[in-house]
Symmetry: C2
Subunit: 491 residues, 2 copies
Amino acid sequence: MAKEITSRNENYSQWYNDIVIKAGLADYSAVRGCMIIKPYGYAVWEKIQAQLDRMFKETGHQNAYFPLFIPKSFFSREASHVEGFAKECAVVTHYRLKNDASGMGIVVDEDAKLEEELIVRPTSETIIWNTYKSWIQSYRDLPILINQWANVVRWEMRTRLFLRTTEFLWQEGHTAHATRQEAVEEAERMINVYAQFAREWMAMPVIMGRKSEAERFAGAVDTYSIEALMQDGKALQAGTSHFLGQNFAKAFDVKFLNSEGALDYVWATSWGVSTRLIGALIMAHSDDNGLVLPPKLAPTQVVFVPIYKSREELDRISSVVSQLRNELHAVGVTTHYDDRDNYKPGFKFAEYEMKGFPIRIAIGPKDLENGTVEVARRDTLQKQIVSSNSLGKFIIGLLDDIQNNLFSKALEFQRQNTTVVNSYDEFKSVIAGKGGFVLAHWDGTPETEAIIKDETKATIRCIPFDSKPEEGKCIVTGKPSMQRALFAQAY
Amino acid sequence: MAKEITSRNENYSQWYNDIVIKAGLADYSAVRGCMIIKPYGYAVWEKIQAQLDRMFKETGHQNAYFPLFIPKSFFSREASHVEGFAKECAVVTHYRLKNDASGMGIVVDEDAKLEEELIVRPTSETIIWNTYKSWIQSYRDLPILINQWANVVRWEMRTRLFLRTTEFLWQEGHTAHATRQEAVEEAERMINVYAQFAREWMAMPVIMGRKSEAERFAGAVDTYSIEALMQDGKALQAGTSHFLGQNFAKAFDVKFLNSEGALDYVWATSWGVSTRLIGALIMAHSDDNGLVLPPKLAPTQVVFVPIYKSREELDRISSVVSQLRNELHAVGVTTHYDDRDNYKPGFKFAEYEMKGFPIRIAIGPKDLENGTVEVARRDTLQKQIVSSNSLGKFIIGLLDDIQNNLFSKALEFQRQNTTVVNSYDEFKSVIAGKGGFVLAHWDGTPETEAIIKDETKATIRCIPFDSKPEEGKCIVTGKPSMQRALFAQAY
């Protein structure tokens, strides 16, 4: 089975697609650019959702749901937002079909044309701020800390499973605050939540920072992002959090009476991550044998495979497995027992490697005699014979090891592929060669950023929060710079 | 606060809307027929989702996600399905907007017209069966037991919050089977899951049965439903499960090699419940003081309200409440402590009555002296003084009582409002008078059903599974009937 996927060296992009399809994560659909998230891929999304939802609630947020459709005119209200979002989108123009005059099929009923077209939401700032207008009168109504889990549509020209699809699933937080400072703190808090989730749950190191003006969200005063490095040396933006200032409050006329009795516009943030995270997760850890999942997000952490010749052997193994599974469930480990009789163990081994189950446990007749099991870990592919006494404790420790090892490996990769450069020649040579993150001085202008992008396809991923002020000269213009920006070619 | 809502007697329909708005469950939106589910309403939906999802998984189902858009031509494939679903729907015809020539706003870009229009899914049988075609080759690929949590759009002319909205949230199960019997069993299993959920979690008695041909799902061979009786004597269909036969397999050419090596069409079911359940929940139990929620679905089960005059009193109360809340959390009870200083206890009491918190606990200085609390239950509005020792055990018992009491009350109401009639005059007088469920003999023809509907607005809700065979004569035509059907005016 493992032979069926393209290796990373041969064709990285094909390797990625092979894993998505062969691990059963997603499938292409009959609708251009839209994907089908298959049960195994959706189970990963459910794990992601559950943990993020917990973190959002722990930071005081509540979920709600706003309409899928947004009146076209709403987009025109915020000048930069319309440029960024209202262009490539799905437009609903009619609300009825009718039988074709020929009787062969159905056609759009021209009598059922909408007075104002509806846009399938590409993001919900406009409809939400139009609603907040009626919810907010005084500072007592603030803050509003709402999140929504939803589908959104952006009519992308080039799509890739999970990474860029016309329809995708995401969460979008939309908060309203009485002061600028509170809103800035909220935007910072949520990018930190995303970074913590990426590191601790996805085992994926990320660089947190501020976007340049050119890369900012349409309508934001400031955009923060987390940026991850993939195995092909390209960066992937994994989550963003926006300080929106009073832009949407002004566009939708949302004022409140502050504690001093004066009218002021409300301050806003929005923040989101999407099913794109699954693409990041795949590319961060997987290998030429298939998917590798961190234990904390694996739908099933341990699979048991029986090795047997007779029905009687299988029965004895099954009885031991049943006890071991109970023991694991009691300590919170999820398991699966694959006793399918029409597949050989080797086939099953390859299948669970492809699907990235963190631990595989094989049990044969000799193991029964010796009171042992054979434990194989997916990340290193190492096997060891382990006593089946107190297996729970051993597995808990091993899952921790795997989670930590995946993070360390990815962090080491990121370190090795982050280069500090001091000239444009060096910059170009790194970007064209080993790739990865490049830290370089930049004069802070969109013009210089555009030149670099044109000439190297590298963009500013962010200006890292944790980079120290450092005087230097822009690699392109030689003008003074106070800090290095993080560049990379990106997904 | 309670004074603000219309009483049921005065105007039942207005009472319902008042509760939805004033309990903070939902709000109207800027988009015709689409609602905003507010945090408190969405929290109820999350409780509903969590339990149903558990029940679906316990019965072997997995979640997945299919595209929002369906190519128009897919609807024409199944003859009766197109009649039922492809008419009143949202049609996407374009994928781009552009700046107006005048520079004032944005318009649809006529150059970006889709070759084939896309329909925003009103239900997903067509796109899912088009996909199953590539997933199913042999009996080894069966059964497929998939559920999807999603939004759907049906362009309804008359909408009501939760009960009938243009966009709504739901789950739709879509299963594929090797035999007719297996599919029938699945459809029956899922209507039973819905009935169990309605009774045990919503505390709402339902009648389970088979739909008449006229009321069947478009494309189904058989539709099963659960029907609940609302306080105004009207019925509400709360969930449906469909045995689809081989209709969709034939429409999308989904064949499989069965265990005998012969090609056959795959057998199908689909089943769904929606945010309409929240409408049912509101109408099943609420009263003229506001919402009443069964403890198992209440986002918060117990609210603590301090009664105090001084800051010092409040501090002492808060410290006791903190201990009591910990005790309740330890036994799985959800709580809230409302120590807002700018609202009086009476205002808070009315607010939590409006929002249907099952239990309210008030604590004042005297309670501190006596080691007691005042416990008020929302269903009966009764209050009692209770020792704060081992409060956890008491509250657990009381929540059970409330859950059971709500179900018994609703069941008693249903019994009192179910009438067996033997003549059409009697039928008409009951429907026009007390309303409710009416059990009557019917000759089994759509023609007679249509006459009854025209003349009385009553429809056949279902032919109950548990009704005994009983010879009789159709109340309209006098033709022989073997079983009574359940009639009612319905939402």
